[in-house]
Symmetry: C2
Subunit: 669 residues, 2 copies
């Protein structure tokens, strides 16, 4: 490689990015200089010649999306955001990776204006970008009218070889190829280096052929040659029949005399000396955080251009609203959910079935709600009636056939949700929540209201056996911060949980649903359903015959509380009746959501679980965690067994009789 | 398709499999008839013309491995096991999916002789088979000598389109292609149907080109034409430079007049009438569980052939032992671990570093120990010194570069472990345990001693920020039944945990390791290290000045117990000292393993956490679960932050002062 000097303003701009990136990493003495040095020209060309965005309004609805799937390239992104005029200062860059800064160690949408999503865990960005492109197609197909291209933008991704090796990327790429998402353009920073050394240590894919086999349009470009990158992006934008991959050959740590092309430049500060040498090689002055005025001026044109783009678009939207009043439901979706048209239930029904019916009632009100399943549409209950599958030839369809790709599905659901303008859900069996946990976690971290449906939620599913019977999953999901895990006890509680999920704004929700039918136990009035409080008294105890004086509690007098979730609430109810016959006053609490309950005032929480009243928990899952509320447990801390559901439940102790026995033993302690 | 009659004995055999499969599903009124009907000829040809196995000894070391990655084809496998003479009776088939049967709803190695591994969650079988092929190459390269092909077998997989869609399969296929695992042969049951309908609903991959791009040898065969399948397998066995994929075109539900070629035949019993019609179409009598004697005789030849194969091999091994006494270490690996050569530590050191040193001490003793990392070899500490990478041209190398493929890595570790003759480990950051949970769970379910290393185990990793800081992961792993999660407090406890992991037989172990250095706190004598008890008193309290009479406990008198794990043990120790100065007698317990502790006798457990002595838990992770042992917690139930590790730990309360404050508050309650 020849040393790139700053003969042109564009070279100066590129090297300004490089300088800022290595300075920030050096000052933090922590970070990843390699990717920004190598991919700066690629990102520069994209951001200044193609990306339609408005730095003054990072939330402009019709902006092009840029997803840095290779999250370890954050300094590239932070530099671009600062330079093009987002709400990020040079001081923010100087505070990189320090307590309280807006420039965390990997990008976070909740901290930094202009960051579309949190990335770092590889593959997530790629897969969520597929969701964004789905949202763009769905919305544009439904909203746009001749002369009114209201929704019309590209989704760009910058990814690394690490992204390409992750399974979730394959799933997402395969789905994108199937869906022919032609406005998705992925730039692959092909620097031939991984953390452990050259990529050929572990990676021999023929990437061009691989992506072509998935139905992608593939090009190669010289990542150091801006015109080469520019041409490829221009062609990719014209290749609208397929998603595009542009393999950009780059050099990791470009410019660093000693570390360029080496894995050493990937994930550690270059060192003071090498920073100096690098700047010299790049033809830049030694000055820390150097931003030449002409470079800044060049970048900041984005503010003017961006505002113009948005202004023109806003005018178009005004005209559209005036001529197309029916568009309101799409442009200004009403967040609240009207429950008067929710389904009625009369007979025992599986909560997955109740979920499907409620989903359809909501879908009628909310045309922007889309989703699907990982090849389990019927089993989980995800089909929106009267709508086709979302396919290349039916882009207004609301049912997404995600294929057997749980991980990409949930990441894409995040992408659709992040896109905004849509709400999205994905569904599979609870056992397969393990296949998509990284996406669930990221939704929680990004504070977005993705909706995750998980049916077949316990050993109660029966015959499919231990490989398909969740044990630890429910509790493992509850452990994820900011994820509202809801396990409703019957059809009406399910409907209430759906309403909660639809009205969530800053957290994802997981609905945990049964395969088997459950009796109706909870009130039919969804608007005032106590599921919103997370836990509530479903059956109050009769006055205790044993401790009538000693144990007076706010909401009644009980000897014992039995708390249960989902399918075990009916078992708890029956156990309560058994105990009452023996003169033991048992209160039964349904606890669909720990998340909601733990956000209630202390008074309320103590009114449900009064001090000094013993509690038994009943849940067909790991008992780990239940000690927070209960002193004795009916649960399962080992793998399940293959047999009809009722037999498995009985054999493992989920019977009223066993719950009563455990309760009696607790009272004797 | 023409109706296949039973003109030949082979057709009769194939249709016997089909009949047994649909009968068993029909009797259980639950299951998956589609795959066995469609893929019976493929499996039949493999099992009777190619597979080298001995039904009388399912554990014969040099058997070909057969992995049914499409676990929903269990009836195909159970039928073959019964028919060829494994320890599985016709009555077992009749008990399919019933309580206590040896024929569970998906295959389980722990229940059914001849089942190599548990499958059902798609992709796991494929990826673990890659591990088996790795083990075969590693062992054969190290053990075999001219004239002594001691280890020499194929690994066969039967997979479905669902397997091919899962990301873990891509990761594994890419790795297998890179490693040129020529003795891996995958038969793809290409039936064009998924649960939700035709595969073209969501799957448009060009599978041939995709796998060729990954370095595979690809063929196509007519799955209904036994000669076509036979030829392809023969060619695949000769194509030793690359792993082989054989795309077998089949018809799901073959023979069923109304359901063949339809998704309806996939996952539900055909119905009594359709079973009759299917048998008629197949030219078979109506009789339930019909096994014609000539078919059984044909299948049972496998017993004779198999015994001969094993006998010949045994003689070869005898001769090999006699002429190659040095082979003993390979053929009869000694399970116990000698700790006299374990490293000594004098200074504070990260437990990931202590792990790396201990691993190397063990590797010197145990030549059959292999493993690696998902592109984080140095960071996690997985390199075995003095050994090259395991590559096509260095197949005796012990360091496997798994690439950025966490899921396939851990599934392959399972495969290597299942293969036997090897012990295997895989390593990545704890945050990425989410990327491989299905493999961790399956190891636990299969009761195999895989070793999983997870470093960078808390917010203490610092700058990389919330996307990389585990919060819920530790507890979410503890929730998996039969997984021994160990989080050592210092270098010596790390060494002790490694010894425990190496001596485990029926459960996998996860070692949770720090990025940051930790002081030495625990005894250096590994042989008698109390880590084996899961939790133990590290610092005994001085005699309580507050309750000297009231609270007498077996192992001392304390006002308070502070229990901590990993990096927080030193914080707990310092907090204990602070409290002692105030006259509060605090015992400090190190609790590296809940799994081991919960298997101790009650007396021991109560000696550690005496009744009525309050307990504070200190762990830089989710508090969910700790209520089992403690009444107050220093933990973190929200996402972390990007800043230097010590700052993050301090800001979130992991300081001796804060632990002392929480302790005082608990004592006041």
């Amino acid at each position: 490689m020849g040393a790139p000097l700053v003969a042109t303003i564009e070279q100066l701009c590129v090297n300004t990015i490089r300088g800022l990136s290595i300075d920030a990493v050096q000052r933090a003495n922590s970070g990843h200089p390699g990717l920004p040095l190598g991919a700066a020209p690629v990102a520069f060309v994209l951001w200044t010649r193609h990306l339609r965005h408005n730095p003054s309004n990072p939330k402009w609805a019709n902006r092009d999306r840029f997803v840095l799937s290779a999250g370890h390239g954050y300094m590239l992104l932070y530099s671009l955001l600062f330079l093009t005029g987002y709400e990020l200062t040079l001081d923010d860059l100087k505070g990189f990776r320090q307590w309280g800064s807006k420039t965390p160690g990997h990008p976070e949408n909740i901290l930094t204006p202009g960051v579309e999503m949190a990335t770092g865990p590889l593959g997530q960005g790629f897969a969520s970008a597929v969701g964004m492109a789905i949202a763009e197609r769905y919305l544009s197909s439904n909203i746009n009218r001749p002369g009114f291209e209201i929704v019309d933008h590209h989704t760009y991704v910058l990814c690394s070889d690490g992204d390409l090796m992750e399974g979730v990327t394959q799933e997402a790429a395969s789905l994108a190829g199937h869906l022919k998402l032609g406005k998705l353009v992925v730039l692959y920073d092909d620097n031939h280096i991984t953390i452990d050394g050259a990529t050929d240590l572990s990676f021999s894919d023929h990437t061009r052929e691989r992506f072509q086999a998935l139905g992608w349009h593939v090009q190669e470009a010289d990542g150091e040659d801006m015109e080469s990158v520019d041409r490829a992006i221009a062609i990719a934008k014209k290749a609208t029949a397929e998603p595009s991959l542009i393999i950009c050959r780059t050099t990791i740590g470009f410019g660093s005399p000693n570390f360029a092309g080496k894995s050493k430049s990937h994930g550690a500060a270059l060192g003071v000396e090498e920073v100096k040498l690098t700047k010299r090689a790049l033809g830049m002055p030694e000055q820390e955080f150097y931003v030449p005025e002409q470079a800044l001026d060049f970048f900041r044109q984005a503010e003017v251009t961006g505002q113009e783009l948005e202004d023109n678009w806003s005018r178009l939207v005004e005209a559209f609203r005036a001529t197309h009043p029916e568009s309101t439901a799409w442009l200004d979706p009403d967040g609240s959910i009207e429950t008067s048209h929710f389904p009625e239930f009369n007979d025992p029904v599986a909560t997955r079935v109740a979920s499907a019916k409620t989903l359809n009632a909501i879908a009628k009100q909310v045309p922007t709600l889309i989703g699907g399943a990982a090849d389990l549409a019927e089993s989980v209950g995800t089909m929106i009636e009267d709508s086709p599958y979302f396919q290349p030839n039916t882009p207004t369809g609301r049912n997404i056939a995600f294929g057997v790709r749980e991980h990409a599905m949930m990441a894409a659901v995040n992408g659709i949700t992040l896109h905004a303008g849509c709400r999205a859900f994905g569904g599979t069996f609870l056992i397969f929540s393990d296949y998509c946990r990284p996406a669930l976690r990221l939704a929680a971290l990004m504070e977005i209201p993705s909706i995750f449906l998980f049916s077949h939620d316990s050993i109660g599913l029966g015959e499919d056996g231990p490989t398909h019977q969740p044990i630890e999953h429910l509790m493992a999901l509850r452990a994820i911060p900011n994820l509202n895990v809801m396990r409703p006890a019957d059809a009406y509680e399910t409907a209430a949980c759906w309403k909660i999920a639809m009205e969530a704004r800053k957290n994802p929700c997981a609905l945990i649903l049964t395969r088997q039918a459950l009796p109706l136990l909870t009130p039919a009035e969804i608007e005032v359903h106590q599921a919103t409080r997370g836990a509530y008294v479903l059956a109050e105890a009769s006055v205790s015959s044993r401790y009538p004086e000693e144990r007076s509690i706010s909401a009644g007098i009980a000897d014992l509380v039995i708390v249960a979730t989902g399918s075990e609430v009916s078992v708890a109810m029956a156990a309560g009746s058994l105990l009452e016959k023996e003169g033991i006053a048992a209160r039964v609490v349904s606890m669909p959501s720990w998340f909601l309950f733990e956000r209630q005032p202390k008074d309320y929480r103590e009114s449900i679980f009064p001090k000094n009243i013993p509690v038994v928990s009943v849940e067909a899952g790991a008992t780990l965690g239940w000690a927070r509320y209960a002193q004795a447990h009916v649960g399962i801390d080992h793998f399940g067994a293959s047999a009809p559901g009722p037999a498995v439940m009985r054999e493992f102790g989920f019977t009223p009789e066993n719950v009563a026995t455990v309760s009696r033993e607790l009272l004797k302690r």
